[in-house]
């Protein structure tokens, strides 16, 4: 039942306004439901994602300054909790962890093998502060890890039933380009609750709307007040202003076609001179899913395990065949990365592999910027000299 504190927003869920204590109650309510709440918090000079004991761990009053190859925490005087864009981690770390055991095997006295499937312990996560771009990244991981013929049990055990609290963006970073990728700064679907943070003369508050029944149930438990027009308007304007302040943009062309038609472009040689093949971009990217396997045995030699761990297409061994790697030049490896993200991902998973979060730009030690590379490829392909 809808109490007076709720009203119906456009998407049919319920809507209310929370203050800081309402947000704190949200974290507690989720914990009471047996969920592990993960959200942003300040550690080691960055805003990282970690388990939150309470909402006081949120980065109130912290922002970030981002540029190609640069990440810096800055103090804000408005006390906002979510006025920062993507940090070095993404939700991938929790849904598709860096290392998982897939099975273990024992060799008996006669040499016979017993193989035990890993039965992943289901984790009940609540993710607080999922940016719209990252919300899309989770949907993309769903397609990759669970959307095909063989849904991945390790992924499903973490993803199934995860409670997602999106936070719309009002403070984009200089490296963000979600507008180009059609993923933000507003959250349109795929969340249980969506928050929009508003700080103005009327105070610090969060417009909160539900996207699922469970979201509505949780919201109904919280201390809240009815959504008012002033807060609604401030929220909408804040998100709209963010769209106008995107730090980066992609060339306004079909990126998939651009990638397909520029495989032999000279620009790849240019980027190769700057790319160290370090693989940072693939580690921080919220959608890069590639893994390799490790087969290990213990000292007795009779117990073996299969582990899966993150891998990167920048690694020389990634494309190893008997006789050597297919992609031996750094040029071909950067090209694999970019053309996969923006082009062939569509063929493989019916979606772009890039959501415009800008992480790969920030965490590239030499500041390589994929939007700049795409503009350069577009200029080369169209033979034009105009600036990006």
């Amino acid at each position: 039942m809808t109490s007076p504190a709720e009203s119906r927003p456009r998407d049919g869920g319920i809507e209310a306004v929370l203050d800081r204590s309402g947000l704190a109650a949200l974290v507690t309510a989720l914990q009471h439901r047996g969920r592990t709440v993960i959200g942003p918090t300040v550690r080691d000079g960055a805003i990282v994602l970690d388990e939150l004991d309470s909402a006081t761990a949120l980065p109130y009053g912290w922002g970030v300054e981002l540029e190609a190859g640069t990440y810096r925490l800055v103090r804000r005087d408005d006390g906002a909790a979510f006025s920062h864009s993507a940090g070095p981690q993404s939700w991938k770390s929790f849904l598709h962890p860096e290392r998982v055991r897939q099975w273990s095997a024992d060799r008996g006295p006669g040499g016979g093998l017993t193989v035990r499937e890993e039965r992943p312990q289901a984790v009940s996560y609540a993710f607080l502060g999922v940016r719209p771009c990252d919300l899309r990244a989770i949907r993309i991981l769903d397609l990759v890890m669970a959307g095909g013929r063989y849904p991945d049990p390790a992924y499903l055990s973490r993803r199934t039933g995860a409670f997602l609290i999106a936070v719309e963006c009002t403070e984009p970073g200089a490296t963000c380009f979600c507008v180009s990728m059609g993923t933000g700064p507003a959250a349109d679907a795929g969340y249980d609750l969506a928050l929009t943070e508003v700080v103005d003369d009327d105070g610090h508050r969060f417009l909160c709307r539900s996207g699922t029944e469970e979201g509505a149930d949780v919201l109904a438990e919280l201390p809240r007040r009815a959504a008012d027009d002033a807060t609604r308007t401030a929220a909408v304007l804040g998100v709209r202003a963010a769209a106008d302040r995107m730090g980066r943009s992609m060339p306004p062309v079909d990126l998939r076609t651009l990638m397909r038609d520029t495989l032999e472009a000279e620009r790849w040689d240019d980027v190769t001179a700057r790319c160290l093949s370090c693989g940072n971009c693939t580690m921080v990217c919220p959608t890069c899913f590639c893994t390799t396997t490790e087969d290990v045995t213990d000292l007795t030699g009779d117990h073996a395990e299969r582990w899966r761990r993150w891998d990167s297409c920048y690694d020389l061994d990634f494309s190893l065949l008997h006789g050597g790697p297919v992609r031996s030049s750094p040029r071909s490896r950067y090209r694999q990365w970019l053309t996969h993200k923006l082009g062939t991902w569509h063929d493989q998973f019916d979606s772009s592999g890039c959501v415009g979060c800008g992480r790969c730009i920030v965490w590239c030690p030499t500041g390589i910027d994929l939007t700049e590379e795409a503009h350069a490829l577009h200029r080369e392909a169209s033979g034009s000299q105009d600036a990006p």
Binding site: Q102, W103, A105, R107, G111, G112, L113, T114, V115, R116, E117, E118, V144, M145, G148, R149, Y150, D152, P153, L263, E264, F289, C290, T291, T292, T293, D295, T297, G301, A304, R306, R308, D311, C313, F318, S319, L320, L321, H322, V326, R327, S328, S329, R331, S332, Q336, T339, H340, G343, T344, D347, Q348
Partner: protein, 268 residues
């Protein structure tokens, strides 16, 4: 069965060449689902690792037949196993040969080296029902006569043409010398009515497909089996990418109409 392998034991080992052996594996418990020609399994050598290996014969008994060439750590370990040894296998994976598309048509099989292994179940399929197909031609290339696979079976494939050729002949070799494309001119097939099945090193695949297309075989009717690094076989690890294709899922058998543009970009 897709991520966790099932235990099998080696019940037969046949030495094919100095570096290649055919293993027959029997399930220690539950068997895997049946394989189709051109599909592959992920075969695990205890404590060493796991590699993709095609089925080289399909048996009704639930047993698996794999022909393994020793080239590195895992393949060497598997190649060295004898009867009684234990392995673990998952599968079946991938899209195999589309034999239905070849019914009523001439069949041309072109193999280089170990590439004959995934083609043998296809030959078995055609020969089990020869009246359903047109003429069968088998062209097999190998480095030397000693490297030729299934030499004793080749005569049974001659309907009407089966021929082996080697790069380096040895004394007494009565077959052909030279690359396998050199045999295409002797084969007896009607290009517009032919379906070709090709597996071998990538250079050989490209040369063969080019020659066949030149003779009038439609690119879409040239099925090629491609190889890339494969860690998962379930479409999750990203290693087997060839441009838009995930070869463990969209391959390993691909029509040359799709493969051509991908195989002509260096290091794609």
């Amino acid at each position: 069965m897709t991520l966790t392998p099932l235990p099998y034991r080696v019940v037969d080992r046949r030495e094919e060449t100095r570096d290649t052996a055919t293993l027959t594996l029997a399930p220690s418990g539950e068997p895997l689902a049946p394989f189709a020609p051109g599909q592959f399994a992920m075969v695990y050598a205890f404590g060493v690792g796991e590699i993709p290996v095609s089925v080289s014969r399909i048996l009704d008994s639930g047993r698996l037949v794999h022909t393994v060439r020793a080239v590195g750590a895992v393949s060497r370990a598997l190649h060295g196993l004898g009867p009684g040894a234990h392995v673990a296998v998952r599968g079946p994976f991938g899209r195999g040969w589309d034999t239905t598309a070849a019914r009523g048509r001439d069949v041309l099989v072109v193999a280089g080296g170990i590439g004959l292994a995934p083609l043998r179940p296809l030959l078995d399929t055609v020969l089990a029902e020869p009246e359903a197909y047109g003429r069968l031609n088998v062209l097999a290339g190998a480095r030397s006569p000693d490297d030729l696979l299934y030499g004793d079976e080749i005569p049974s494939w001659r309907r009407p043409f089966a021929q082996a050729t080697v790069d380096r002949p040895s004394a007494g070799w009565k077959g052909r010398v030279g690359i396998v494309t050199g045999l295409i001119g002797e084969a007896r097939f009607r290009p517009p009515d032919t379906t070709a099945f090709v597996c071998g090193p990538e250079v050989m695949i490209r040369a063969t497909a080019r020659t066949l297309m030149h003779q009038g075989v439609d690119a879409a009717r040239i099925q090629v089996s491609l190889e890339r690094n494969m860690r998962c076989a379930t479409g999750h690890c990203g290693h087997c990418q060839l441009g838009p294709l995930l070869l463990c899922r969209d391959g390993p058998v691909v029509g040359y109409d799709r493969a051509e543009s991908l195989l002509t970009v260096r290091e794609l």
